[in-house]
């Protein structure tokens, strides 16, 4: 059995339970206590981010799947970012595609309709491997986004040898929902039925711990997930059809049913009968059913009287929908299989992993600035693939679907989309690995400022952001220091611009095959409301005006 728990953590589990957990129970604890699900190495610092502010409807505080802000007339904008780095390293096509599927499900989990996607891609370079990665990553994103009819309206393409073995594939999604119709991720009352939609298969067994581990290069087949955008589309359509009849919903992500059920119960208890779970393959063991990470599944908490109606919407599409258990008041998570207890653990234990603060140590940085000739500097900059034309990539995305993309990819520094209430929002994602490598704190500030400026360039004022913090192994003091410094920077700048951070994600263990961490790559995705008229992306003639002081930086 492959667990990521440390011996100290295992000791803690044993002493809390006062017994030795069985194998299935260990796997459940392992999934819930994984870095991916528990944020055990990051939570302490994430708390310092400014998460509230004018217009915030739902933020990190609520510990929900995505954040939401008010955009007028009773509408809320829902925003989330996530990465699929490790899966994309081994299977760039499916890794990137399932990343899109996952972020879409985060948005529909709130009852929101996804209206735009962004993709921020980082690979090593344009050598054979880099090209293979890039080609497949873009094709994977296109395949999923296009198939479900959500326009990919913007993103980044960046090249740096630091990503040769560990590409970064970040996807963000914005959705809209009437604020009064937001569906929570957690339940408050016992008695609700737990309804699972979608087949469960063998895919991705061990994925949550995979993401929290470094890439071993070994047979990672179990962690490979195949994207099924067609199923994803059905899931989106049917879920949005039934959202009014559902008390809470969650998508199934890392850690599968174990995590979704426990987090949804949120301190209450749940009883699940595993034999009721619709399976794609015969002969799955109860344990496998609990931790399978098959894509395109959702968990709903539904009042008994609404179950039929909810499931009818899915049956219409020939999509499985089954009651698998219920929420109970006794705070225990119990999984049974044909009457036999497989897992029986206290909710509290699962929801409270020990938090860590790892040792920190600031890298010694050489202050010396290399002398370069203007000519050399210019040609290095202008020939860098980062500045190449990205049409090859974005022309593979159906960015027109939805008839609301006003400023399209390649036209300006941010995309502008129209909301159902007629208002317009701008969105953009930004990171800067080179600056972060030199100074993570300044970089944290800079990326927030850059995102804010990018929005301003089309006439929008930032109203909310989500961040994604991508680093190496947190147990390395230099890495952890950078991590903490970047949060401090992001936090300061977000406060300065009054842009609340309404959500985010952390991804550690991004390393090359020699165990060197990637350059620190925090990333910001910001949304802003256009004030007045959005600015024309291009003008035919006029003066060029440069604002601000140009320094020797």
């Amino acid at each position: 059995m492959m667990l990521t728990l440390s011996s100290k953590e295992m000791e803690l589990v044993r002493s809390t339970l006062d017994r030795e957990p069985n194998e299935a129970e260990w796997k459940v604890v392992d999934a819930l206590w994984s870095e991916h699900c528990s944020y055990k190495s990051s939570k302490t610092f994430l708390r310092s981010l400014p998460t509230t502010g004018q217009g915030v409807i739902m933020s990190v505080e609520d510990w929900q799947d995505a954040g939401a802000v008010d955009v007028g007339d009773g509408w809320a904008l829902v925003l989330k970012v996530e990465s699929h780095n490790h899966p994309s390293a081994v299977d760039p096509y499916n890794g990137a595609a399932t990343g899109v599927g996952g972020i879409l499900r985060d948005i529909i989990s709130k009852g929101a309709r996804p209206i735009a996607l962004l993709d921020m891609i980082r690979v090593g370079g344009l050598d054979a491997k880099g090209k293979w990665l890039l080609k497949n990553i873009i094709a994977g994103i296109a395949s999923y986004g296009n198939s479900v009819g959500v326009p990919v309206v913007g993103g980044e393409l960046s090249f740096d040898p630091t990503y040769t073995d560990n590409p970064l594939v970040d996807v963000a999604c914005v959705g809209v929902v009437k604020a009064s119709e937001i569906v929570p991720s957690v339940v408050r009352t016992p008695g609700l039925k737990l309804v699972l939609v979608g087949f469960t298969g063998l895919d991705g067994i061990g994925g949550a711990s995979f993401a929290s581990r470094k890439l071993s290069g070994m047979d990672e087949i179990g962690a490979v997930q195949i994207a099924d955008p067609f199923a994803g589309k059905i899931l989106i359509d049917a879920t949005l059809e039934v959202r009014g009849k559902v008390e809470a919903m969650k998508d199934l992500g890392g850690g599968g049913l174990a995590v979704a059920v426990t987090e949804m119960a949120n301190g209450l208890g749940a009883r699940v009968q595993l034999e009721r779970v619709p399976l794609r393959v015969k002969g799955m063991s109860p344990e496998e059913i609990i931790i399978s990470e098959t894509q395109e599944r959702m968990l709903f908490a539904v009042k008994s009287e609404n179950v039929q109606e909810v499931c009818r919407a899915f049956e219409d599409y020939n999509y499985p929908c089954e009651v698998i258990g219920e929420i109970v008041s006794e705070p225990r998570i119990t999984f049974t299989y044909e009457g036999k207890v497989v897992v029986d653990l206290p909710s509290q234990l699962l929801l409270s992993p020990p938090l860590f603060v790892w040792p920190m140590n600031r890298k010694v940085r050489t202050e010396e600035v290399k002398e370069v000739s203007v000519r050399e500097a210019l040609s290095t900059i202008l020939l860098h693939p980062d500045l190449g034309n990205k049409e090859w990539a974005y022309s593979q995305f159906d960015y027109e679907v939805g008839v609301s993309t006003l400023v399209k990819p390649g036209q300006a520094d941010s995309a502008v989309i129209e909301l159902p209430n007629g208002r317009q929002i701008a969105v953009k994602g930004d990171a800067n690995q080179d600056l972060c490598e030199v100074d993570a704190y300044e970089c944290g500030k800079a990326i927030v400022a850059e995102a804010f400026r990018n929005l301003a360039s089309v006439g929008a004022r930032g109203i909310a952001a989500v961040d994604h913090l991508q680093f190496g192994d947190p147990r390395k003091p230099e890495v952890y220091q950078d991590f903490v410094d970047s949060i401090r920077g992001i936090s300061e700048a977000a406060k300065f611009f009054s842009v609340p951070i309404v959500g985010g994600k952390v991804s550690f263990h991004n390393e090359d095959k020699n165990g060197n961490p990637i350059k620190p790559t925090p990333l910001i995705v910001m949304a802003g409301l256009v004030e007045g008229k959005y600015l024309k992306p291009r003008v035919e003639e006029g003066w060029l005006v440069l604002l601000g002081i140009t320094r020797n930086e």
Binding site: N146, Y317, V401
Partner: protein
């Protein structure tokens, strides 16, 4: 005109089409593929998207559905049938329109604004409209093929062209024969095209403020 906008599992553009059809005052509604009654409508639009994930080949699985039998009935009765993008692929795969739509020569999905020349004005959709229209394409399998190129040219209603309406190979985005962007049946009541008229129906979304898509959709408002 009472118009059904047919939604298969995987269709993505049904709401966009309805929005555009409302602009021309068509009485349009989205109808799910498993509850489609052809007798209730005078016209039907099969919108774009990825019906059944476009697995195997774009449009194939949808072409096998009961709903397409209904569409064939409507076509035979001379009612108006419009297939956009995936809708065109479905019409071709079900044999209601002739030919095949193959993967783009570049082998990838392409989104792009394209000019098309209106080559046949003897259809209810194109009677009296402009000569050149600006509309976006967004597809991976749009290379129209028919062995007999002469016949392809006769069926062609839209051909990729330059802005002044010249049909030249350089502007062919996908390698289709004769630059075909859309065709009609002999009678002209059934049209399929790869470009999206509904995306060229709102002036704020088009590169030059035009609304050429509405020209084609207008017939449903009559």
């Amino acid at each position: 005109m009472r118009t059904a906008v047919l939604k298969f599992p995987g269709t993505t553009c049904e709401e966009d089409v309805v929005k555009a059809l409302r602009l021309v005052k068509a009485e349009a509604e989205v109808v799910k593929f498993n509850s489609f009654d052809p007798d209730r409508y005078q016209g039907v639009v099969i919108p774009g998207g990825f019906s059944f994930g476009d697995y195997l080949r774009a449009g194939t699985i949808a072409a096998n559905s009961e709903a397409m039998k209904g569409v064939r009935e409507m076509a035979d009765q001379g009612k108006l049938v419009l297939g956009i993008c995936n809708g065109f692929q479905i019409l071709v795969e079900s044999g209601i329109l002739k030919g095949a739509l193959l993967p783009n020569l570049k082998l990838r999905f392409i989104t792009k604004w394209t000019y098309v020349r209106v080559s046949r004005k003897d259809t209810p959709f194109t009677r009296g409209i402009k000569d050149v229209l600006l509309m976006p394409i967004a597809h991976a399998e749009g290379r129209y093929y028919l062995e007999d190129e002469e016949e392809a040219r006769e069926l062609a209603v839209f051909q990729y062209s330059n802005p002044s309406g010249l049909v030249v190979e350089e502007v062919n985005p996908n390698g289709s024969v004769q630059n075909v962007a859309g065709i009609a049946n002999q009678a002209g009541n059934v049209i399929g095209l790869m470009p999206h008229p509904e995306r060229a129906s709102f002036s704020k979304l088009t590169p030059d403020g035009s609304t050429d898509g509405l020209e084609i959709l207008r017939v449903f408002g009559k």
